[in-house]
Symmetry: C2
């Protein structure tokens, strides 16, 4: 009991320390996708490595990749206990449209128990609570009940393009029993969640060129191709009226959910339509025929255009037939879709839908990722369930996530281990203006991970 | 013969003076649609009024409207001769995309007999050649063979929103027998042209809002409306596969061309498909079933999206479901379509094609204009034909224009007079980067207008 008293008391009495760290970390604009923030990415990595060293982690290193660096640290002196690799990312999404933020995205602001900043929810809070959980042991007893290895990357928001090669090269250093991934959230304190499946993803850019220059719409209107008309028709051609994707062969490899999986989905309280609408602040939901919105999120692939532009966007009017149109989109994949197969099918669809004489370029952005599913029988799930139940005082639910965490399938493929995804993001607006995070959930998250370590240490090595 | 010798010699020996004026005029960035160029618009008006005064025009004034000012001047001492109101505009289109200009748009550059600058072709060259034609008489004989009134406006590229009201208020000052409109071009020196019909126009902006903020596409993909998908479907819904417009009732009031009009269209040499393709630099033309591309330009209305945008347009990737999409488009109308009727039909179509729960705003930009057609029997056409034939040494053709000159129908409605449209724009890229104008055509244009004045003076008053 002395042991438990220590970490527990430490966590309950150090909220201000956590908050002060959190504000510092959030102040660094570590936007991985924008070249002008390259140095901020490095500042964030340095800040993290300092933090890890200070609280007693060992072998702390900033390790180079082909892109942004990985921050590594470990503590591996728990004999006969399992080794868990703690995964997270320190990079964040861009902040535009900047004028819709109520407070500056890199000046953390406290309001009603929430902290507002880019990265507060996705996922600097989650990274810090993992460290805080370790700190609670190392500062009180000088040791941890499990072996831990930290792998905090800087390219998750880019779909982790450099990590697979780096994992191959660093396999020796990364041996572990399983991976705990904290890049996830809690929808409702009453229903603690563990994520047992994530989608795959494929990013694509499309460029349409209809001629050498924009033309006067009075002279050329109705008789030359308009790049924006062609792009609009192309985007429309991707979906049927019921939002089903119209690309030939798109669903060939999709695993249909079982009756049991659909029942599990229906049982999750926050999967009800009204709760989903409230979460997104929208009046209506859409969904494929024969699937509820929650089932679409859990089991079905989707295609979304993230940006589209061409022609005159200034104030006033410019009467042109635009010769260029551009779009960025991504496809979220489910098991057993293969990203390169889907890219080929999409590319074929596009070429079939573009009139002759019009040039179209279809490019993959980054590296496509497969979906990942964790077996319900994985032993680490039991400790995670128990830790959540103990700290959040409610029975955990296992959910499938609509978002992609491209690296999970890669971890399984390269390191040969499974991933338990348990995160404590809670608040909202991730990838959007006014991102925010519930501070109480961070404190609960740190307690849950500390309890999880304790239970893993008690159980002995994971049988896998 | 002395008389003719004078204007003719003056024009042939003053090319450098014309060019020097032209360069000065083109250096003023009089972009009417961009608020930041408001003072440049006024500088252009001042430059013009100075020029008109210097060459002997009288009653030169910069007259205020509700928007950019009108430049007025006259010379009305030719007793028993008709009065022609010379119409033009001193405003120009925006210059973006600026990085595709080979030379800066407001630093006129000479190359192979062409002058490159925004406004060179549309229509500062045409305005100057009208003045130059008057100057050739006033500087040599001190008088003109016809009465002339100049009306040079600054809002043509905005669809002349303030001019109708100003015309109503200045009717007394503007009495005339007919109007000569120089806002047009010559496609080929071998086939001098007079424009006998222009289209009407209707500018529209569409804003689609699907929710309060962008959402993470991993969480919301496939289950909430994507503003760019909806806008793309909407734009696609405007046309059938054969480019015919799908808006209910859109063609109700369209006058079908007669057999004779279609024959005339087919006879015009530069109406052949290969010539049109060469002019626009495109590989393929499109057209409505049962109409040739030239017939589409001459007789058929069309709808063109000029700009479309929404979501993430930066470098890299941002995986959002965008909550906003925007488009600017215009419709070119033919006789007897009514702009406000067509706006209502478009608006109804849009509301019928937008899912419930999605907000859409449809706004008219400026004031819609009707199409205008000049009767083949108008007497001023005879003098114009003869002047063109005399100066360009070829038989003129009468063409119908795909572009809108919104003010022509308004002139007819408010001033009760017809409009002969004869311009000398020649070169290319109007409303586009690297706009340019053939200088030799400007000199020919000045001669043609001087000859036109002479013939009108000889014929006596126009019988209308």
């Amino acid at each position: 009991m002395k042991h438990e008293f220590h970490w527990s008391q430490y966590l309950d009495t150090n909220h201000q320390k956590f908050l002060s760290d959190f504000k510092e970390f959030l102040s660094i604009p570590s936007i991985s996708t924008l070249p002008e923030h390259k140095e901020d990415i490095r500042r964030a990595a340095h800040w993290l490595s300092n933090k890890l060293s200070t609280c007693g982690l060992e072998n702390v290193e900033i390790l180079e990749t082909d892109g942004h660096p990985v921050v590594y640290a470990d503590w591996v002196h728990a004999n006969n206990a399992p080794t868990v690799l703690l995964y997270g990312h320190y990079d964040v999404q861009p902040v535009d449209p900047i004028d819709t933020w109520d407070t500056p995205p890199f000046e953390p602001a406290l309001k009603n128990g929430y902290i507002y900043a880019r990265g507060a929810n996705d996922m600097k809070g989650n990274v810090l609570l993992l460290i805080h959980a370790c700190e609670s042991y190392l500062e009180t007893t000088g040791k941890l009940p499990v072996n831990v290895k930290f792998l905090i990357e800087g390219e998750e928001e880019l779909m982790s393009p450099s990590l697979p090669k780096w994992l191959e090269e660093n396999r020796g250093r990364l041996t572990c029993d399983f991976i705990a991934n904290a890049d996830a959230g809690q929808t409702d304190k009453r229903f603690p969640t563990i994520v047992t499946a994530v989608k795959g993803a494929l990013g694509v850019t499309i460029d349409v060129i209809t001629g050498p220059s924009d033309l006067h719409s009075g002279l050329a209107g109705g008789i030359v191709h308009n790049a924006l008309h062609i792009m609009s028709e192309l985007i429309s051609s991707f979906h049927d009226k019921d939002t089903k994707i119209s690309i030939t062969g798109f669903y060939d490899d999709v695993l249909e959910p079982t009756k049991e999986e659909r029942e599990l989905c229906a049982q999750v309280p926050f999967n009800h339509d009204e709760n989903i609408k409230r979460m997104f602040g929208v009046r209506d939901l859409i969904h494929e025929d024969n699937y509820t919105p929650a089932e679409v999120t859990w089991f079905r692939p989707n295609l979304a255009v993230h940006g589209l532009w061409g022609g005159f966007q200034g104030s006033g009017f410019k009467t042109i037939i635009p010769c260029e149109a551009h779009a960025k989109l991504s496809i979220r994949l489910v098991a057993n879709q293969d990203p390169s197969d889907i890219f080929d099918k999409l590319e074929r669809h596009i070429h079939e839908h573009i009139p002759t004489g019009v040039k179209v370029t279809v490019s993959e952005f980054g590296v496509g990722a497969k979906a990942y599913t964790l077996s319900e029988s994985h032993p680490a799930l039991r400790a995670a369930d128990e830790a959540l139940k103990s700290e959040m005082k409610a029975a955990p639910v296992h959910v499938r996530m609509g978002a992609a965490i491209p690296i999970l399938a890669t971890f399984k493929a390269i390191l040969g281990v499974d991933v338990v995804t348990m995160g404590f993001g809670n608040g909202g607006n991730i990838h959007a203006p006014n991102e925010h995070q519930n501070l109480a959930m961070c404190y609960l998250g740190a307690r849950t991970y500390a309890r999880f370590f304790e239970l893993l240490g008690t159980d002995g090595p994971v049988d896998h």
